[in-house]
């Protein structure tokens, strides 16, 4: 299992388009992937899950994956979040 943290930096956070990009990327991997914000865990492959999480600018989230491609999954998702533009 691999887990990394990241701060949301773009203005509109993980809403709308960024969230759908995130889900699309997460769905490429076989690992079970979760996004953790505060105490709560959300399914990274679910647009409904991510949208209901509602991560905004300057909030910390953690991305956690478990499975054969966990390293690839976590790294690419971290990269995606850090490169989000509005």
């Amino acid at each position: 299992m691999l887990k990394r943290e990241i701060k949301i930096q773009n203005e509109s956070g993980l809403h709308a388009r960024p969230a759908s990009l995130f889900v699309k990327e997460a769905s490429k991997y076989n690992s079970e992937i979760k996004v953790i914000k505060g105490e709560k865990e959300y399914n990274a492959k679910s647009i409904m899950g991510l949208l209901s999480m509602g991560a905004s600018k300057n909030q910390m989230i953690a991305i956690q994956a478990q499975g054969a491609d966990e390293e690839l999954a976590v790294n690419s998702l971290i990269e995606l979040v850090s490169n989000l533009a509005d």
Partner: protein, 569 residues
């Protein structure tokens, strides 16, 4: 049958009944859960294919931005959280698949509706949309959407919403017939913009037609023929030819000035909703834009447009118009035009409530963003600002103060703008018309918004079918207010235009010319006809009849008198 002809032209085509069927879901107890899950999988893939098709169609017909929404729908449809929640319900509660889908989507919808964020709140609508599609597929209810029309059709519906009309393909839609709405309903206005013949306000039409039957509509007279005979088809095809011939005549006066028989020059401009409407205005030789309805920039989306987005839109139009004037009306929402993401309160009297300038002066950030974008665009053409729903002088002064502040900001940031940009107001509230002399001292121009002026003067809700017979632009009281406004404007040396539907009304144009109206702004399709009329009217001659016409007792008398003038010319 007969209704209100609200967009001219003749349409012949097969009836396409557009209605949303009510979906009834009953809870059933089942044993074979495998079977239900199997049905769910099949329905998801079928609904997914449907969404895919809508995406491609919208992409081809409208563009990527409009199509984007269907990508989001597909994701919601295929969402694992949603899927497993439905499966769990089927397995645990041993219920039928429809019931599980309905309950699950309802709980998601409630969850999203409860979120404080305005954008997320809006997503509840998408979840509703997707689950309805899925339920329709499961229940095998034929789903209708306007994009699926693939032969010359006449759409028959209760009414069309902005998202419906966004899907209209005017190449293939021969006409629109709706049960609700008058001349100024959304359907009517959009039909005129798209130049699709339309008839509105025919009660019970849905009960009287069948999908696939042939129908002829005459959008000028409001007449409808269901299952026409051979000779009727022939007759209307002929009529259509004549209309085409008149169109040719009008093409010949392109490039000419709009000057009356006795030498008075006026300006005939077009009304637009989106930057791409400008092409139609230029095609019809419009001399400018007298009304740019900016609210369309704010509609069919999930959050406010940024300054940059607005700037690009305004700039595009300003550049295309060059020296010709562009009157940009600031945001006019509220009333019948809701923006879900603003969470506007529900009101008892929305038309008398929190809308237009009232909203803008309250939510100043929205207003400031728009004003900055307009000011920035002003160096790219001949831009003017117009404020809607003005009822007292303070609103004008407050708005001008904000505009001054923004000018100062821009100067500091060294961003160019037109220092002399004109600021005008709409005259659409009787108080503003009556008090127009004072208003004229504060602004650079007036534009009379007849749609609301009529509604407020006559106390007639223009969307209410039962009282639409009272909504009448020929009412002597309305015409007196118009005359008063023009005179007061001229006394103070400002120009006066009109951007309501009345400005394009053939019967009223000669009278308005005589009253001294300087600018007529209308649907692009009416521009050349209006010029043709102006060229054939003598202002002085007509002016000698004003007193007599305004002295008539009823709107019907006035309309009759104007009819006579029109046929004499």
């Amino acid at each position: 049958m007969k209704g209100l002809g609200t967009s001219p032209g003749i349409g012949i085509g097969k009836i396409f009944v557009y209605k949303t069927t009510e979906i009834k879901v009953i809870r059933e107890n089942i044993d074979d859960t495998e079977f239900e899950i199997n049905r769910l999988d099949k329905a998801i893939s079928k609904a997914g294919a449907e969404i895919e098709r809508l995406y491609k169609l919208t992409l081809a017909n409208m563009g990527e931005k409009e199509a984007e929404i269907f990508k989001a729908h597909k994701m919601i449809l295929e969402d694992p959280e949603f899927y497993f929640a439905v499966i769990e319900k089927i397995n645990k509660e041993k219920v039928n698949c429809e019931f599980a889908v309905k309950e699950t989507s309802e709980s998601f919808i409630t969850m999203f509706e409860d979120i404080k964020d305005e954008y997320l709140k809006e997503r509840a609508v998408d979840i509703k949309d997707v689950s309805t599609r899925l339920l329709r597929t499961l229940l095998e209810i034929e789903s209708v959407d306007l994009l699926s029309i693939n032969e010359e059709s006449i759409i028959v519906a209760e009414d069309l919403t902005p998202s419906d009309t966004a899907q209209l393909n005017k190449e293939i839609v021969a006409g629109i017939v709706t049960e609700l709405g008058g001349r100024t309903s959304h359907t009517a206005i959009m039909a005129r913009t798209l130049e699709v013949p339309a008839i509105t306000g025919i009660k019970d039409i849905l009960k009287n037609v069948k999908h696939g039957e042939l129908m002829i509509i005459d959008g000028t007279t409001g007449e409808i023929i269901i299952n026409p005979r051979e000779e009727e088809i022939f007759e209307y095809e002929n009529k259509n030819k004549k209309i085409e011939e008149l169109k040719k005549k009008l093409q010949n006066i392109k490039g000419q000035d709009s000057i009356s028989k006795d030498g008075y020059k006026v300006e005939i401009a077009g009304n637009i909703g989106t930057p791409k409407d400008i092409d139609k205005v230029l095609e019809n030789d419009g001399e400018g834009v007298g009304l740019y309805r900016t609210e369309f920039l704010y509609m069919d989306r999930d959050r406010l447009p940024t300054e940059e987005e607005q700037f690009e839109a305004y700039k595009a139009v300003a550049e295309k118009l060059g020296k010709r004037p562009l009157v940009i009306r600031t945001l006019d929402v509220g009333g019948d035009k809701d923006l879900p993401y603003l969470n506007l309160p529900k009101e008892m009297n929305p038309f008398l409530g929190y809308r237009a300038i009232r909203l803008c002066l309250d939510r100043k950030n929205i207003f400031r963003t728009q004003l900055r974008a307009i000011l920035r665009s002003s160096t790219y053409g001949n831009v003017k600002i117009m404020l809607p729903m003005i009822s007292n002088i303070k609103e004008v002064r407050d708005s001008k103060e904000i505009i001054e502040e923004i000018k100062e900001e821009l100067r500091k940031e060294k961003i160019p703008f037109d220092e002399n940009m004109e600021i005008g107001i709409m005259i659409e509230i009787p108080a503003a018309a009556i008090h127009s002399r004072s208003f004229a001292k504060e602004v650079d121009f007036f534009s009379i918004g007849t749609n609301d002026l009529i509604q407020y003067t006559l106390a007639v809700d223009r969307g209410n079918q039962d009282i639409s017979y009272l909504y009448n632009q020929y009412h002597p009281a309305v015409l007196s207010l118009i005359k008063m406004t023009i005179e007061n404007g001229h006394e103070e040396g400002i120009w006066v235009g009109m951007c309501g539907e009345a400005a394009g009304d053939e019967k009223l144009i000669p009278l308005l010319l005589a009253m001294g109206l300087d600018e007529f702004s209308m649907s692009a399709s009416s521009i050349l006809k209006a010029r043709y009329l102006i060229k054939n009217t003598s202002k002085e001659e007509m002016a000698s009849m004003i007193e007599e016409i305004l002295g008539l007792s009823t709107a019907e008398d006035v309309e009759g008198a104007l009819d006579n003038v029109l046929s004499a010319n």
